[in-house]
Each structure stands twice: as C-alpha cells, then as structure tokens.
Symmetry: C2
Subunit: 189 residues, 2 copies
Amino acid sequence: MPRRQAEIMDAAARVFAAKGFHGATTQDIADVLGIKQASLYHYFASKEIALETVCIVGASGFYERAKIIVDGADGARDKLAALIRSHHEPLADHADYIRVFLHQRQFLPSTSRRKIGRWSRGLERLFERVISAGIKDGTFRAGLDPRLATLAILGMLNGVPAWIDKEGRAIDVIASGLADLALGGLLRR
Amino acid sequence: MPRRQAEIMDAAARVFAAKGFHGATTQDIADVLGIKQASLYHYFASKEIALETVCIVGASGFYERAKIIVDGADGARDKLAALIRSHHEPLADHADYIRVFLHQRQFLPSTSRRKIGRWSRGLERLFERVISAGIKDGTFRAGLDPRLATLAILGMLNGVPAWIDKEGRAIDVIASGLADLALGGLLRR
DNA sequence: TTGTCTGCCTATAGTGTTATAGGGAACAGC
DNA sequence: GCTGTTCCCTATAACACTATAGGCAGACAA
C-alpha cells in the first residue's frame, strides 16, 4: 500500500473507531487529513470499501499467528498462554483498526463480511482445539465446556481495546495478567 | 411507561441493536411497528431521546442488584459468583436493550452519557471491592491485580450478548459456567 | 518539450433523513 | 352532545451526506 494511502486509511480507521461507520462522515476523515472531502475518492472508491480495507487490516494476522502457536510443540497450557499473549500484539501499533474490525464489520457488504467472519470462526476453532486437547491430556479441568471457555476467553480479550487506553497499564502486563487469570482463575489454589 | 410506548421502545431497541444508532433510521423503527415514520414523534421527541430511553432501560438494575449482593453477608467467593450470575438476568427479557446500552451509549449527548457512565463505573467498583476483599482474606490468590481482574471479568460478561442467541445454551448454564471459569480458571487444581 | 502521474481542488447532482405542522377518526367520561 | 385523549395520518421543509465530473499544478521521465 502506497505511503499516502496508508495515511488515508489511518485517518479512516481513527474516525470509524471513534464515531462508528455510519456515524462517521467522509468529511470527518478529510478533516483529520486536512484535505477536502471529495479528494478522498482518489484513494478509495466508496466509504464502504474504505471500511473493508480497514477491517481486513484489523483482522489480519490474528489467525496466522494463532495457527503457528497451535501447530507448535508446546503443551496446552503454554499454547493457551501464548494464544492470549499473541492476541495483544497488534494492539500496539494499530488499535483503531482492531476496534473497527470488532464493532463495525457488521456493516460490511455481505460478501466481505462473510470472508472476514470465516477468519473469526477459524480463530475460535484454534482456541477450542487447544482447550479440548488440554482437557483430554489432563492439563485442564475435566468437565469444562470447551466452546463456552473459548467464548469466555475471547470475550475477555476482545474487550481489551475498549479500555486499554484509559488504564495506565503496559500491553504486555495486561497480556500476561489475562493469560494468568484465564489459566488459574481467582481462587487460591 | 404506557403499554404502547413500551412497544415503541421495544422496536427502537431491536432496530438500534441490529443496525446501530446511526445506521438505524426512524423509518426502520416505524416499519417494525407497521406505522408511518412521522407517527413515532408522538412517543419520543427525537431519535436521540429514544436512544437515551433504551439505554437507561438497558443499564438499569445492574448496579442495584450488584449492590445488594456486595452488601450481603456472603464471602468473596460466593459474592463474586452471585455478581456474575446476576449480570445475566436481564438478558432473558430484554437483551436488545442491553446490546444497545453496551455499544450505542457512546452516541448519547454528553449529559446523559455521563450519567449512565457513572452507573458503569459504580458497577466496576463493586466488582473491584469484592475482589480486593477476597485477596485480603485469602479467598483469592495473592498478587492479583483487582482492577485488571475486574476488567477481564466484565469484558467476558459483556461479550455474552453478542453470541448468546447463536450458541444453543440456556442462560443459567452460561451464567454458572462463566462464574466457574472466573473463579477456578482452566488449569486442573 | 511533451506526456504522465500524483495529489488535490471546485462545484454540484442526487438522494436519504429528521423533524414539524396540521389534521382526522375512534373512544371515554361527563 | 360536548370535550379531551389516544393513536395515527399526509405533506413537506430543511438539512446532511455520498459520489461524480472535470480541472489544475508540480514532479519527473523520455
């Protein structure tokens, strides 16, 4: 992606994250960049396509990183901890893209929405697989519902972008803390 | 609230939840009810005020129920489990109101947004207080970050409305499962 | 010098959306 | 039979937003 176009997309991501896709106007995006509204259309064909571009950037990488972890040689405990940690990595440099992906992708046209939805479900399956394996080999508690545990953990993780900027904690402190909580829970052992 | 107005608000909540505040039009709401767009303005003065009404309904009750639990005589473990369970109660009868509260309240005018924001922060403090007390009395692990644990648990809980309709699990099964996960984690003891 | 590309501009058509104004019909209570 | 209330209607003003058309200036290459 050409440098200038990346700047345009940064502005779009920022505005979409702050105001939502429908609440954001192309004028808002242009204002961030200091250019005229119509000038944006040299960089994207429509507002909807801008959203698609932002969402794809926001979603990309999660599945690939997770796949490498799951295919590795670690045990279920280390794999799950690594999955949770790696889920935080993209927050460092493009948090807005991820926020847009999480909450605005529902407004994509159905074709691209479905494509991106497949990545999400793929990621869920990776978590679920690790948890199921951990139950089977005795690392995790018997009687757990792997699907429910997956949704619980991903819910916890996907909530992070909403508060990370307000709480004064470094990303890797949060990542480690959440991995520890998911594995060990609150109760004293 | 008069019966008919409650029906209007149900429709508004449904449409706001499905399309977002800015993505929803007053025409969409009227279509759900089978009346004309302009007729809605007998029931609310503006779309923004309709959002405020829906958000207040969606937010109400959480803090009050939590306060009763926290003020009770149980130990930290039972209090936290009860907090998590009680967080699911309103999902049974007005899930759409809660979805709107969770994701659309950011579009409220600042006065009402701040009022509703105070309820949220109040709820967070109740969770945090229980967790801190539990650490102090040895129920929960030493070294936990109570604030981080609160945000993790609330993130997990606030993710539920997004998937509850798609996964075929009863609400109280979910509520118990999540309380168990938060307390015990995944690892075998 | 001519052509091409990038980056931006002005102007505006076309459309969708909110909200207001001013009714009308049915029904209840007196 | 009069009055008020509830529920809904038509019509439209006023405005905001997306996207297109067509152009201009500077950089750079042939």
